[in-house]
């Protein structure tokens, strides 16, 4: 049977099947970055187990000149470097696709497929001949297959070579050795394989100024720019690299040039209770402090979130969401902590949440979180996830406005206290619900107060009187309303044609959603979309729902948490919000979203086209 070989230029998915710990990661990254250097966007993703060495990992690179950065699904070419997963890797290739493998050891024909193109290179044999050292054989084997792929995909050898030069600048030996390995693979493929194959990369101009970085590094950098000086943390995948990045950017940017001392303090705590305790202690004492964690850590921190909420202490929590508990799917992505963060802790609490869509926003929203936390005197959560946190991605370059000053919020100063200004720690003086605070040590005789939960009056004196409690709760409600307009506004994308169907989504769903919108439009289905970027929801969000007949809520969890939050906060008729849920641990795809929305519209007999039916919001 002859299935025609796939012919695609600048639009395909290539997957690398590797063994964890074999050093393939940096070679694979070299491959992805070489394509970017040719001006063609790529979206790389790691798929890895919760082990350090020996288990399978995959690295998927979606090449898309059109700029679609969400996961696509499927695989046009497999670089099968892991014998353990051979069978399923070969089976995963699309009909007409390509299989690249190490042909040192002959394999029986039953191990291959008829409908794909098989490309073998004796990588192990070549490495054994070239290198003495076992580790070198392993590492350069990876670089060698990148060289071969450059030939097969008709890529520019110089782009990869330049990357190596940039990466190892100053280390000439390393540059020479790597370029040599790259060349060996390239030459072999040129001589022995039918180069180029049907999948090709052609220079384009579709990358622009964009940078490639993972979201966790961006959060760490955002914390540096946001003025964080104290971090308390406890290691947990997929959040650990936030603190690792913070630490290395601090070493770079926050080491005092005069004496080499640190303008920051990072403490690895004994657990998440202690991490958040340190953050709250530092916030109480006037430093900008944060922690990074994931779902299990969020669970452990609950009591402290409640205290910080009621004692009104600034704190920033970066939650890189993953699948379920400790023995859940810690290395798989989800958006399943929304509710446990929004209403974290006991006793009528609600929290400010920010939803970055990519590394660019991981940077900007983390930096902003520190201003919001001090302005609102409350914990602020940055809800990232494994997909954007741990994968490098193309995003707009980071920006910083040098005229920007940190917003330290309502801090009463020595001078104001000295001048006799009335200080009530929990007093609403101007109607926004936000009281003034003093930092310990401000004034010898004025402005000190005893911090506790809620058993106190507006002047922070002990009180269990009901009216004092109610005053406080009503003020906190006003404060939360104030937050509505301070969190980043939602982003509305209007369909090309008028429609009364809307879609609400957030965070890492954004890339797949953009592509899904285009797919649907191509099929004549038009939807307006709204990307929420913060909680509490601004009025715009509720208006978007009110003005449409049906609104799909697309998210990556099983219990439709964003939908529940919208229903609860906006008193929305549940029938109006249609669930689109993806929660198998893999990143959501445009195919999935578009399919679900198209099916639901058919089932519900809703026509998306036509004039929106105006409804009066009640």
């Amino acid at each position: 049977m002859s299935t025609p070989a796939i012919q695609h230029c600048n639009d395909f998915v290539i997957k690398f099947a590797n063994v964890n710990g074999s050093g393939s990661a940096s070679a694979n990254e070299l491959f992805a970055r070489a394509i970017i250097r040719m001006g063609v966007p790529v979206a790389p993703r790691n798929i890895f187990p919760s082990n350090i060495q020996g288990l399978p990992t995959w690295y998927e690179v979606r090449v898309s000149e059109a700029g679609w950065l969400g996961a696509r699904g499927g695989c046009d070419m497999m670089v099968a470097m892991n014998p353990q997963t051979w069978d399923r890797d070969v089976a995963a290739i699309e009909p007409g696709g390509y299989l690249f493998y190490d042909s040192t050891k002959p394999l029986p024909p039953s191990k291959f497929r008829e409908d794909i193109t098989v490309l073998g290179i004796p990588l192990t044999a070549m490495c054994n001949e070239e290198y003495e050292d076992a580790r070198q054989r392993q590492l350069f084997k990876n670089i060698m297959y990148v060289g071969a792929l450059i030939a097969l995909l008709d890529m520019e050898f110089a782009a990869a070579e330049q990357l190596i030069v940039d990466r190892y600048r100053g280390k000439d030996q390393l540059i020479k050795a790597n370029v040599n390995a790259l060349r060996l693979g390239y030459d072999y493929a040129k001589q022995h394989l039918p180069c180029p194959i049907g999948l090709r990369v052609k220079r384009a101009d579709a990358v622009g100024e964009r940078i490639m970085i993972d979201g966790n590094s961006a959060c760490g950098l955002g914390a540096v720019y946001g003025g964080a000086t104290v971090a308390g943390w406890y290691p947990i995948t997929p959040s650990t690299s936030v603190i690792e990045a913070f630490s290395s950017y601090c070493r770079k940017f926050r080491t005092d040039p005069d004496n080499g001392r640190a303008r920051y303090a990072i403490v690895q705590a004994e657990d998440e209770l202690a991490s958040i305790g340190m953050v709250i202690g530092a916030g109480w004492n006037g430093a900008r402090a944060f922690t990074a964690t994931s779902g299990p850590g969020i669970s452990l921190m609950q009591e402290f979130f409640g205290l910080a909420y009621f004692a009104e202490i600034p704190a920033v929590i970066v939650d890189v969401q993953r699948g379920s508990p400790s023995t859940g799917m810690p290395t798989r992505t989800q958006q399943s902590d929304l509710l446990s963060c929004a209403y974290a802790s006991h006793g009528d609490t609600r929290h400010v949440l920010l939803f970055p869509q990519d590394a660019h926003e991981c940077f900007s929203l983390t930096a902003q979180a520190f201003d919001l936390a001090e302005r609102l005197q409350t914990p602020v959560f940055v809800l990232s996830d494994l997909d954007i946190g741990m994968n490098e991605q193309l995003c707009a370059p980071f920006e910083w406005d040098d005229s920007r000053r940190y917003d330290r919020g309502k801090l009463m100063t020595y001078a104001e206290l000295e001048a006799g200004k009335d200080f009530g720690r929990y007093l609403d003086v101007d109607g926004d619900g936000i009281p003034y605070r003093t930092i310990p040590g401000t004034h010898p005789t004025k402005g000190a107060y005893f911090t506790r939960g809620t058993t106190r009056n507006p002047y922070a004196k002990y009180s269990e009187v009901g009216t004092d409690y109610v005053y406080n709760m009503e003020r906190l409600r006003r404060k939360f309303n104030t937050a509505k307009d301070l969190v980043p506004a939602p982003i509305l994308t209007k369909a090309a044609q008028p429609t009364h169907v809307g879609v609400i989504y957030y965070g890492s769903t954004a890339h797949a959603m953009a592509e899904a919108g285009a797919k649907l439009a191509a099929d004549g289905i038009h939807v307006d979309t709204l990307r929420v970027r913060g909680f509490p929801f601004s009025d715009e969000v509720m208006q978007f729902i009110a003005e449409r007949d049906a609104v799909f809520v697309v998210e990556q969890n099983e219990s439709a948490q964003l939908r529940s939050l919208l229903i609860n906060e906006g008193e929305i008729d549940p029938k109006k919000l249609v669930r689109v849920l993806h929660y198998d641990g893999s990143p959501i795809t445009a195919r999935f979203i578009a399919g679900k929305i198209a099916d639901a519209l058919t089932d519900r007999k809703i026509s998306p086209i036509g004039q929106p039916q105006r409804k009066v919001a009640s």
Binding site: R263, A265, G277, G281, T442
Partner: protein, 351 residues
């Protein structure tokens, strides 16, 4: 319950310290604890120690967990910021506060339930980290606030007010502190201010992790026959190893002691600890010896008190972290934000 403001009546001839403050300036709100509660005596000792040391009240941050003991920071140092935090988690909150501003004095107040039961983990790790603080446990062997259940420091075989015999082994926080790296470890009794006040003073001037276990009887739930934390029991079994005088660098007083009976320790900040020998030959610079002594005497039913261990060469958390001199909470934007140029340079490396 409402807040009772304490009348600020300064009698003209009340003694004043070098800052011109009277003892009253170091007091707080009126205590709501049971009359006779040991914790109130500890509060009074803290007031006395701060007065004696000419400490500016607003340069102290007082932090506590939850319990009767943890309420007490409201009852002293009314001009200091205080934080009644979460049950068992004061050490982490204090650690964070200390990270933010290395220039304040940190006073942690906790109970035996707060530190030895729910908070044993945080207690241990704060000691390990070398947080510069004075950590006082007001140890009554019970949970006072929740009405008299045994805590983890209750002695095996001791009897509750309801007649229940405790069958679990006790945790000795002083021994733990010794093992975990505290560089100033003491034990005292709330009923012995003469011993307690100097121990608090030495701790406040120590400059590293200082821990004081103060046996502090709960008159309401644990002061009966069969309790090993009652006033009577502690008085009968108290075995002090030394008596401490704290001498500030500026003071020129040279007390005279019989030869061989005095040990002199100079702390980081120049304060001098004079340790007078009581009975036994005890070396407070010998950590292993201190641990052995505690174990031996405890086995005999004695409650060893005094300055059990001091190491004036210890380093604190900020030294380990190599943080700048200026408190982190006072660094301005220019010291913290690398700015747009640095960001553009970084962007360039990410293409």
């Amino acid at each position: 319950m409402t807040y009772l403001a304490k009348p600020k009546l300064h009698s003209a001839d009340a003694p004043r310290n070098a800052l011109g403050y009277t003892r009253r300036d170091y007091e707080g709100a009126i205590s709501t604890l049971c009359a006779g509660c040991g914790h109130d005596s500890i509060s009074a000792s803290i007031v006395q120690a701060c007065f004696d040391l000419d400490i500016e009240p607003h340069k102290v941050a007082k932090l506590s967990g939850i319990g009767c003991s943890s309420k007490t920071p409201d009852y002293f140092l009314g001009n200091s910021h205080g934080f009644n935090s979460v049950h068992g988690r004061m050490p982490s909150v204090l650690t964070g506060a200390a990270l933010a501003n290395r220039n304040l004095l940190y006073l942690g107040v906790s109970g035996d339930g707060d530190s030895a039961s729910i908070g044993i983990g945080q207690f241990a790790h704060a000691m390990r980290r070398g947080v510069n603080m004075t950590y006082i446990v007001e140890n009554n062997g019970v949970y006072g606030l929740t009405k008299g259940q045994f805590s983890a420091t209750a002695d095996k075989g001791s009897k509750s007010k309801k007649g229940v015999i405790n069958s679990d082994s006790p945790i000795d926080l002083a021994s733990l502190a010794l093992q975990l790296g505290a560089t100033y470890v003491a034990r005292s009794f709330s009923g012995d201010k003469e011993q307690l006040v100097p121990l608090i003073k030495g701790a406040l001037r120590h400059g590293g992790p200082a821990f004081i276990d103060v046996i502090s009887p709960c008159v309401t739930f644990n002061n009966h026959n069969g309790s090993t934390k009652s006033y009577d029991y502690v008085r009968e079994h108290n075995a002090a190893v030394n008596r401490l005088d704290v001498i500030l660098p500026k003071a020129q007083i040279e007390a005279s002691y019989p030869p061989g009976s005095l040990r002199r320790v100079v702390q980081h900040d120049g304060s001098i600890l004079h340790l007078r020998k009581v009975g036994v030959d005890y070396d407070p610079s010998d950590r292993i010896g201190a641990m052995n002594h505690l174990q031996e005497r405890q086995a005999l039913g004695e409650i060893v008190t005094g300055l059990l261990y001091v190491d004036s060469s210890g380093q604190d958390m900020h030294t380990h972290l190599n943080t700048v001199e200026k408190p982190l909470n006072q660094l301005g934007d220019a010291y913290l934000c690398p700015g747009s140029k640095a960001l553009e340079a970084l962007n360039a490396t990410l293409r």
